[in-house]
């Protein structure tokens, strides 16, 4: 999650105080990991330095929480670009799981068992997300679904790989 771009995006709605930005960030994007105030203000001052926001309404002698932030054209253009560009499709698995399977086969370890363990860990997490989905708001449900579909994709890869371990073993062990 890109904090600077998300805060900029929130500012596109209307000029806001740091406090309001934090509250909305936490409600929609924080998901149990609230953004520290320190990070909100340091991010906003970097955005101001880079000309993406300007600060208004500073009462003399007031603290950072009295400032209002307004997005600039530069900032708005950046939000627009970020929203329109696709996110890099991340090949999550190739990093860890794939490496584990190939190494297990190279080292003559029980790759199938590792995959079984991984499957039940994935399903365990999927149960937790499903519980969140059943108990929570629509925002919770949509976020949980995003996680669920990714885990499901991993699981499909695990099934396919499990079914082809013998062939893969031949290929990686020479």
């Amino acid at each position: 999650m890109s904090v600077p771009l998300t805060l900029l995006g929130l500012l596109e709605r209307e000029p806001s105080h740091g406090y309001d930005l934090k509250r909305d960030y936490d409600a929609f994007f924080g998901r149990g990991k609230p953004l520290p105030f320190g990070q909100v203000y340091s991010t906003l001052s970097r955005l101001a330095r880079d000309g993406k926001v300007v600060i208004s309404d500073v009462a003399p002698g007031s603290g950072p929480d009295r400032k209002r932030y307004i997005i600039t054209d530069v900032g708005a253009t950046e939000v627009e670009q970020w929203l329109t560009q696709p996110v890099d499709p991340e090949p999550h698995l190739q990093t860890v799981l794939f490496a584990k399977v190939v190494l297990a086969l190279m080292l003559d370890r029980p790759a199938a068992e590792y995959l079984d363990t991984q499957r039940s860990a994935h399903l365990h997490r999927m149960r937790e997300l499903t519980e969140i989905k059943r108990a929570g708001s629509l925002v919770d449900a949509l976020l949980a679904d995003h996680g669920l579909y990714h885990l499901e994709a991993d699981l499909r890869w695990i099934e396919m790989t499990g079914a082809r371990l013998d062939a893969l073993r031949k290929e990686v062990r020479r």
């Binding site: 079984d116 399903l123 999927m126 997300l129 499903t130 669920l148 499901e152 699981l155």
Partner: protein, 226 residues
């Protein structure tokens, strides 16, 4: 927790084709268990043995301590009628009956009076988002609607165990999850034990735990501490 239904070392062959080769599974009362595994691994056969539809070649099926594998067919069929509920993937509704009559059917077969059975059947329609469809015949329902009617029929008699074989297999993701939501909600409310066959992980995630069937045997992963 106490075990309500159990397969012990069950073997079953269709002629020369072995389908179960020493399958064991114990399910606690009120538990929702997902049975997963590759196509042809024996999931449906295991379900049918547990439900007393098929009789194992060897091994035991125990329900509430009773030896189902040793029962006569009449005894097994009254067990299925009075204690079990069923939901399958396709073609379960009786086309000549209205949706409400379909839901009432298990109660009618158990000797509940028609007016009372229909009254209880009607209460399910609102719960399932099907209000107003009570009088339709199955040909006049969409696949997802028919599936929800079948679910109501499986649960209406408050069975001790619900057997569900790919109950969401013919549905789109959203409808499938709505059906699961209802199934899990109703099962928890009535304390019904559910044995759910599915190959979809997102559906299995509604269960309390999963077991994998491979080559006619059951692998239960070590339970992960929550």
């Amino acid at each position: 927790m106490s075990v309500v239904i159990e397969a012990r070392d069950v073997e079953f062959s269709f002629g020369q084709t072995p389908a179960l080769r020493g399958a064991s599974l114990a399910v606690d009362a009120g538990e929702i268990v997902a049975v997963m595994g590759p196509s042809g691994s024996g999931k449906s056969t295991l379900l049918h043995c547990l439900a007393g539809i098929l009789v194992p070649d060897s091994g035991e099926i125990l329900f509430d301590g009773a030896k189902v594998h040793a029962m006569a067919e009449t005894e097994r069929s009254s067990l299925r009628r009075d204690r079990f509920g069923f939901v399958f993937q396709f073609g379960q509704l009786v086309p000549e009956l209205t949706a409400a009559e379909n839901v009432a059917l298990p109660m009618l077969l158990s000797g509940v009076r028609r007016t009372e059975a229909l009254r209880r059947a009607y209460t399910w329609f609102e719960r399932l988002g099907l209000d107003g469809m009570q009088q339709r015949r199955s040909g006049e329902l969409s696949g997802g609607q028919a599936q929800r009617v079948a679910l109501a029929r499986g649960l209406v008699a408050e069975p001790q165990v619900l057997f569900a074989d790919e109950p969401t297999g013919a549905l789109d993701s959203l409808t499938g999850e709505q059906v699961m939501d209802l199934l899990v909600g109703a099962a928890r409310e009535q304390g019904t034990t559910v044995i759910l066959v599915t190959h979809e992980a997102r559906i299995a995630a509604y269960a309390d735990r999963e077991v994998m069937v491979r080559d006619g045997r059951v692998n239960a992963p070590d339970r992960i501490a929550s």
